[in-house]
Every structure is written in C-alpha cells, then in structure tokens.
Symmetry: C2
Subunit: 375 residues, 2 copies
Amino acid sequence: MTGTPEATRAAAALPPVHVVGTGLIGTSIGLALTSAGARVTLADQSETSAALARDLGAGSLDAPAEPGLVVVATPPDVAPRQVLAALHQHPGAVVTDVASVKQAILRDLVRSGEDIGRYLGSHPMAGRERSGAISARADLFEGRAWVLCPHEATTDAAVAAVAELARATGAAVSTLSPAEHDAAVAAVSHVPQVAASLVAARLEPLADEALGLAGQGLRDVTRIAASDPGLWTQILAGNAPAVARLLREVAVDLTGLVEALEALGADADDVADAPGARAVLARAVAAGNAGHARIPGKHGAAPTSYEIVRVVVDDQPGQLARLLADIGEAGINLEELRLDHGLGLPFGVAEVSVLPAAAGPLGEALTALGWQLHG
Amino acid sequence: MTGTPEATRAAAALPPVHVVGTGLIGTSIGLALTSAGARVTLADQSETSAALARDLGAGSLDAPAEPGLVVVATPPDVAPRQVLAALHQHPGAVVTDVASVKQAILRDLVRSGEDIGRYLGSHPMAGRERSGAISARADLFEGRAWVLCPHEATTDAAVAAVAELARATGAAVSTLSPAEHDAAVAAVSHVPQVAASLVAARLEPLADEALGLAGQGLRDVTRIAASDPGLWTQILAGNAPAVARLLREVAVDLTGLVEALEALGADADDVADAPGARAVLARAVAAGNAGHARIPGKHGAAPTSYEIVRVVVDDQPGQLARLLADIGEAGINLEELRLDHGLGLPFGVAEVSVLPAAAGPLGEALTALGWQLHG
C-alpha cells in the first residue's frame, strides 16, 4: 500500500489536500495520497461515510486550515455547487472535480459569473463495480490515466497542482480540453458499451442450439454487456451530446450496410451482381481495420502486431502453469494469453501472443518439450 | 495427428468418402478422416491443388469407385452444381456441402426439381485466416461444432451418415434447419463482426491523447475488427438476408438510443428531467444483460458466473508462470486468465477467473505466497 517512488516524490510537493465527498473515488484518492505521505482532510454530507473514510486511513476530519488543493469527488449534479463553495471558502486553493463528464460542469461554472481561474476539471480513468468508501483502494489509480481538462481561464499554477495530485496517486497525466475529453470517453468507452449491449440483446431470443455456435469473437464483443444498467444510464446520460453524436455516425454507417445487404439479399440468385453493395461492406470492414490499428499497445506504446502461437492444454489445474513455465524458461516474454475452451472437449487451446520474431523459436521450443501446437 | 477414440470409432463406421474441392476445408476434412482411418478420395478442378492435398496425406486421387458419402467443399456459388453432379454420378451416395451459408444453396437445389433426399447441407464452425490446401490441418475441427441442416426431404440415413462424418473429424454435431443456421451465425458471428467494425471506425479520427484512454473494454469489443475485408465481404454477402434482418433490429434500437440521448443533451441544464429517455438507456443495457447471460460457458455447459481475482504481475518472463504454478499448487482450477497492462507502468494485472467458491481461498493462498492482490 505504499506508493511508487514517483508518487512519493509528487506527494511530498503537495500542499494540504481537502477531499469533498468520501465515496469510492474520493476515499481512494485520500488513501492513495495518505499512503504516499501527503496531508489529507475529508468532508462528506454523510457523517457516517466521512467517519468510515477516516477510519480506513483516507485522512482526517479536522476542519481544513489552509488547503492548497480541494478535490470535489461528488456526483456530477452537485459538483458545480461544491466547486464554487470551495473557491469561496478557500481563496488560496486550487480546485478540481473528478466527475466522468467535463463539459456540463464547466458550463454551469462559467454561467455563475465567478472567477474560475483556480479551477480545472479532471477525470481519473479508474473505477470499480462497487461503490462507497468501503470499496475504496489506495492503488485504484496506479497506472491509470488521469485526464486534466483546463479551460481558457485556468492558471498554469492550477494545472501544475492537479498534475502533481494525479501523479501522487500513481496515475499517468494526460491533458485534453473538456470537449475533447467528453468526445474521447464517448468513443473509447461509451459507444463500445452501447454496441456490446445491442449485439448481446440479439442473443436473447435464440435457441440453445444456435447459442452453442458461439465462439471467442462473440464472447469478446459482448463481455462488457454484463455491466450494470443503473450505472450506465448515469454515464450515458451524463455524456449525452458526445455519445449521441458518435452513435448517429454509427447509425448512418449501419443504415448503409443494411441497405447494401438487402440489395444483395434481393439479388441472391446471382451473387455476382450488386458490386456497389459489396463495396459498401468492404469499406465498412476496412474502416474498422483502420480504427483498430490506432489502439495503443502495451504500456501506451505504438500499436504492435503480435503473432499467436496456439497450444493444446489439458483442462486440469497446473497444466497452464507448466506451459507458462516452459515459455518463461525459453526466455520469451509473453504479451497476452487467452484460453479458448473447445466445445465439449476436455482440453482448451491457449493462444499465446508474442512478438513476431519470437513465434518461431517459441513453437520449436514448445514442440521439443512435448506440447502439441494447434491450428 | 491421430484422432480421438470417438473419432476413430466414427471413421471405422464410414463408407469410402469422396471430397470435391481441396481448399482449406476440403483438405482438412481429408486429413482428419485419413488420420482417423477412413478411406478418402479427392478431386479438384485444379490438378495442382488436388495433387498437393494428396501429397499432404489427405487422400488418393484414384477415381472413386463407389463412395458412400460425397463432401462438396467448394465456394458457395458453385456448390449447388457440384451437389447435383455428385447425386447423379454416385446414385448410392449421401451428399453434403460445407459452405458457411445454407439457405441459398438449398433453394437452388430445390429449384432444380431433382430428388435431393440423399442431400443435406452442413457447416463445420472452423476456419483459419489463411486459405488453400497448404494451410490445412487434420485437427481443424477438433472440439468445434459441425452443424447439420437437413431439409424436409432429407432421409434419416443421410443425416446419420453426415453426423458420423463430422464425429470422425473430432467435431461435435449440432442440428439446425437451414434458416435457423443462417439466423444463428448471423447473430453469433456476423452481427458481432459488423458491430466491432463500426465501433473501431469511430477511433480513426481521434487524437493520440484520446486513444491513450483506451481500456480493456474497447480492446475486447474491437478485437475482431482487425479481420480481412475481402473475406468478410463474402461472408456477409452470402448471408445477406439474415444479417440484414438482425442489423435492422440493431438500427431500430440504436435510433431509439440516439433520440433519447439527444433529448437528454438538449435538457442538460436539468439532468433530473427526461425520465422517459433514461428508461430507454436502462432498457437497452438491461436487454444486453439478458442476452449476454445466454452465452454458454466452458464446454457448452450452462453459463457460469466466475469471480475475478486480480493479481499484480511484474512484466517479466516467468512471473506469470510462477503465478499460475502457485494457483495450480493451491489446487484451484483456472477458468480464464486475462492480462491488463497498466498504462506506462512496468507491471500488469492478471485477472484470474475462478468459480465463486474458489475466489476467497485463492486470494488467501496467493497473499500468503507474497502476491499483491489488486483492486
């Protein structure tokens, strides 16, 4: 529960921090900062929640004498009011909020007519399925992005202070405008969620036999469709304009595909026809290729293509461990591992992703050790 | 390269099999049957391809004297003609084709006016990224579903013969009508592919900083968006009516969501408003929950919820092997393993899925062995 050396350095440079709101995120921030050595005070409209956060070690409940930094970690609908209150009560402090939408909050603050030069919104890209102080973790932000969203009037000193805060929790700092932030999370998080839900919804009326044909592709596309409807209603509604804009684009593409497929279906007797319709299909898949290629690889590095070595693994404890021990002894760094359980068979296939240059040597090493390569 | 005991038993019961078309699938069928002990003859309009399949061990090029079973493994557009030719040339044989669409081929055969009682279409749910005899594998069908699609006039003997064929390759037999088959693959394979492509296409214009916020959810939803446009144009066009029908449903849901989000966006000043729009969002996510819950778990068994234990793993060869060895020694059967590489940090988080009852004991065992649990 101790921070990394960089987090500890960042925490040492922090002024006293006051956290408003001791739910999952606020308490986790308190825990992370406290364990990195910063001084933290806590407040919450629920005294029980605040006391729990204190007892967990997230900070003290003393009135903050002179905080240099106030973190508003409340639900988005009360965040603007809490930010304004903090700017008034602590005239020397930088103020940030950590809600998952940024434009709506900033708009409310600008409308207030107050000087908000000491404010910038921010967003740590971390969360859990559970909520409340009791679910908080000191390491919730480690290795995650924490997006800073300064506006036109934000001072450089305010940006620097919130960046130091983020680093003190172990997070990696990114900077985006509020509009860029909302558009980015719409594209990388909210639209994928909607797509997963809509694809999964098509499965409900299928016969068991049809579902028996499900493979790894379907499982991957729909994994996040298991998410909580209440939570996601809040998230989607909070970023409604940006999500609507992208989903409108998806709908346009989708309508073009449906029309092309219907033209091809009506023309089924002669599959050589409707070349224009086929071009629509090919362009849609190619556009997906281009977008997919832009997703960063491991450690935020440039995207890397891995080669996959498939190995038959008995479905018993210890088998996979033996495989990975053999891979490790071959001196090969595993990038990703995925298990594909065969339908009705007592073995699975381990898909081992490695750098392309390592695939050949790995295959040879594993074959020599008696592993059966697959496909 | 030897079949399972069940495959060998099934192969022993097979009459001589004649395979028409020595591409990836036809040659793999020949290899699987030959290695299980069946007698196989091969034909292809390309003599080079047929000779290669023979040299690989998929069967002989002798004229088939009296095949009991003919497998048409050609592209879909020539499959009906080849099926009719086989029914004529081998009046005692059962005939099947293995194309990935079933209704269009059956329609052509029915229109021919011939007696097709000895024919049924079928579809082994297996493939590779590469094509041709050179990419064939004897184990391509092991543990995969092989769908039988009998029509009204198909004889019981024909169904039994093709089921035996499928089992002799190591596949698991399912039975669906041609329409059910086309609808099933549309839902479990073709629609997810389109959704992944459309979501990934939204990433193309994003700034690098925005893409830096990408998490595991996005990676899962878009993994298959890297697929080949040429291949997928053929697949989608071949199942155009069924895919169009489902995508039309997706488009209706999507339009409802866009309208709800636009209503919420227009109403951003008072997020308590538009309760009807919020209900639309919640219903869409809940429908996704219901569909996702129907995906079968491991080994085709009823869906199981696994619990995830998250463990910090140094990003070095051998670390993961040590973790899995420890899990195996704790006597706990790993269901799934997923690696989540932290952004910019030299460690990853291994997400270990186990049966719920095993999660507590596993966490204790790993902590006792010095592993750091995460989140």
